[in-house]
């Protein structure tokens, strides 16, 4: 029994140490964002702010148009999420429950896309979006992400597990295919839709490279782009301002994540993708 106690104690020590290494930096970010620039740069560093100051946040909103970036991030993420929920569940349903020519080829093509590195599509997508006249527009930011292969995979896997009888029964009752989809299939898919919605929202909110290239003026920047442009290539780094910016980027995600973490874990465990 004492051996068990030793094992248990050492396990706790290791796990708590691991947790400190992972979560500690976030806490330091949060606490430091309330320090003055001088205190941030003091050696040795302090954990707890000696004087709590909101100056960094005030600067953030004075110098940079953060409400605008926040709104842009939210608009893009909401549109991308709604698009994926609709288009991926439509195709996922067709792949799982309807028989049509080319079904298998379509599924394999969509699945194969998961292996294609982002850099392969990046340049042609940029050429395409520029020639459609969509550079520096919400449409340009949203369109390439509306139909993601990951969502199709997730919805198809989930729908395969739903018994055909439910759908057949509705068909026998004379319901049209469209009606069956809205009234029978989608309500059954709520857990998968929740997972897909959260994961898509998150990856769109955190998406960085595409908006960095497509959004060329201040009024279309998303949060990560604004923060990165401010952070990269500055000779003198104002940590206070950057840390406050990082907090503004992280906190909304953190709230969503903590509230809905069960859906995250299930989504990752069942599909293995984030």
């Amino acid at each position: 029994m004492t051996r068990d106690r030793i094992a248990r104690t050492s396990l706790y020590v290791i796990l708590v140490a691991g947790l400190l290494v992972v979560v500690g930096p976030f806490l330091w970010m949060l606490l430091s964002s309330f320090k003055t620039e001088a205190e941030i740069r003091s050696v040795p560093p302090t954990w707890w702010p000696s004087t709590w100051s909101l100056a960094n946040y005030r600067d953030l909103f004075d110098r940079l148009d953060f409400p605008q970036y926040f709104a842009n991030s939210a608009i893009v993420a909401v549109l991308v999420t709604l698009g994926n929920l609709l288009f991926c569940s439509l195709l996922g349903y067709a792949l799982a429950k309807l028989d049509f020519p080319g079904r298998r080829a379509l599924f394999l093509t969509v699945l194969g896309m998961l292996m294609v590195p982002g850099m392969v599509t990046f340049v042609p997508q940029f050429v395409l979006v520029s020639n459609m006249g969509l550079a520096n527009s919400y449409a340009g930011l949203v369109l390439p992400f509306l139909a993601g292969p990951f969502g199709v995979f997730l919805m198809r896997q989930f729908l395969l597990a739903i018994p055909d009888d439910l759908i057949e029964a509705a068909r026998v009752d004379g319901a049209g295919e469209w009606r069956i989809f809205w009234r029978v299939v989608l309500p059954l898919c709520k857990p998968a839709l929740a997972t897909l919605g959260i994961l898509t929202f998150l990856s769109s909110w955190n998406n960085f490279l595409w908006p960095l290239v497509v959004a060329t003026t201040d009024d279309k920047y998303t949060l990560p782009v604004a923060l990165a442009l401010y952070a990269i290539g500055q000779n003198r780094i104002y940590y206070g301002l950057l840390l406050a910016g990082a907090v503004v980027v992280v906190v909304p995600v953190l709230i969503v994540f903590l509230a809905l973490q069960r859906h995250f874990m299930r989504g990752i465990a069942t599909t293995g993708l984030k």
Binding site: L11, I14, G18, P45, R103, M113, L242, V250, F264
Partner: protein, 310 residues
């Protein structure tokens, strides 16, 4: 119609025929919206990239993408005599070869620790370990640049307390890539941990009980039961982490801008730079080399880690 009347046994197919045909159109009607978007914004770019890679397309051809010259495999041969590309390939390879095992080991340790049944507050640990996965890379870069700052950073100040003078982590060619590797493992192990936890929970408890009765210790149980039964999950984890790590890009972009002296320049970053210089054809060729490398690595991992029994 006549067939139905004269041959009752075939009545069923005659009814099912139009219905099946209707179902066909229905299938494509449901598939169409996604498929159209997918064709335009995913498949077309994949093909276009391949075509661009054998042309001399540059940024000045942006508005006239069809008025470019065919140059054969010139871009590809140029790539391998481009010192920066070779450098970036070596860096990326080091990142993958060191980073993937490191991430898997960290994820295995966390998953096994949380699954041991000894631990309370499992949700708290799980959520904590997963936190970096959901955080924007830009925010993480800000935090880590601050942590690794040679003077004001937490890391070097902690080292100073035990009498070690820490290096300029991101500013020294000897430590810059290593710092990026550790940061990437720190950021990504949480998602593998969740996959591994799910796999661990699928291992029947009886196996461990039987092993314990036979006098097997914890380590023996781990080696003889856990590891073999985790093989599919480990393979899966290695493949998706490998695919992700071969595309290393955002970390060096926001942390080091590929420096110092290209010590953290990755293949994707090199492609991005070539795009920035306007060398679209050249960038496309490099992206296809990366694509081939990703497929090759996945195949290799299936060979190495896949089922050895058959």
């Amino acid at each position: 119609m006549t067939a139905v009347v004269s041959a009752p046994p075939s009545a069923e197919p005659a009814v099912a025929g139009p219905r099946r045909r209707r179902r066909r159109y229905t299938g494509w009607a449901f598939a169409a919206p996604f498929t159209v978007l997918f064709l335009v914004f995913a498949l077309l770019p994949v093909v276009a990239s391949l075509v661009m890679s054998v042309t001399d397309m540059r940024a000045t051809d942006l508005r006239t993408p069809f008025a470019v010259n065919f140059v054969g495999l010139d871009n590809y041969t140029r790539l391998f005599s481009d010192d920066l590309f070779v450098r970036s390939a070596v860096n990326t390879l080091v990142f993958v070869v060191v980073g993937v095992p490191l991430t898997i080991v960290a994820a295995m340790a966390a998953a096994n620790g949380l699954n041991s049944g000894l631990i309370r507050f499992r949700t708290m640990f799980r959520v904590g370990f997963y936190l970096p996965v959901v955080t924007s890379i830009v925010a993480i870069a800000v935090i880590w640049r601050f942590l690794l700052d040679p003077e004001a950073g937490l890391v070097n100040n902690l080292l100073a307390q035990i009498g070690i003078t820490g290096p300029n982590w991101l500013g020294d060619t000897r430590t810059s890539l290593a710092s990026i590797i550790v940061m990437a493992a720190w950021r990504n192990f949480g998602s593998l941990m969740v996959i591994f936890l799910a796999a661990l929970q699928g291992i029947p408890n009886d196996l461990y009980e039987a092993a314990r009765l036979d006098g097997a210790g914890r380590w023996a149980q781990f080696r003889r039961i856990t590891l073999p039964l985790m093989r599919p999950a480990l393979l899966f984890g290695a493949v998706i982490t490998g695919i992700g790590y071969l595309q290393l890009f955002e970390e060096p972009l926001v942390m080091t801008q590929g420096g110092p002296l290209s010590s953290t320049l990755s293949v994707s970053y090199h492609i991005y730079n070539q795009f920035g210089f306007g060398n679209y054809g050249y960038a496309a060729a490099a992206s296809y080399v990366l694509f081939v490398a990703i497929v090759a690595l996945s195949v290799l991992q299936f060979r190495l880690l896949g089922n050895r029994d058959d």
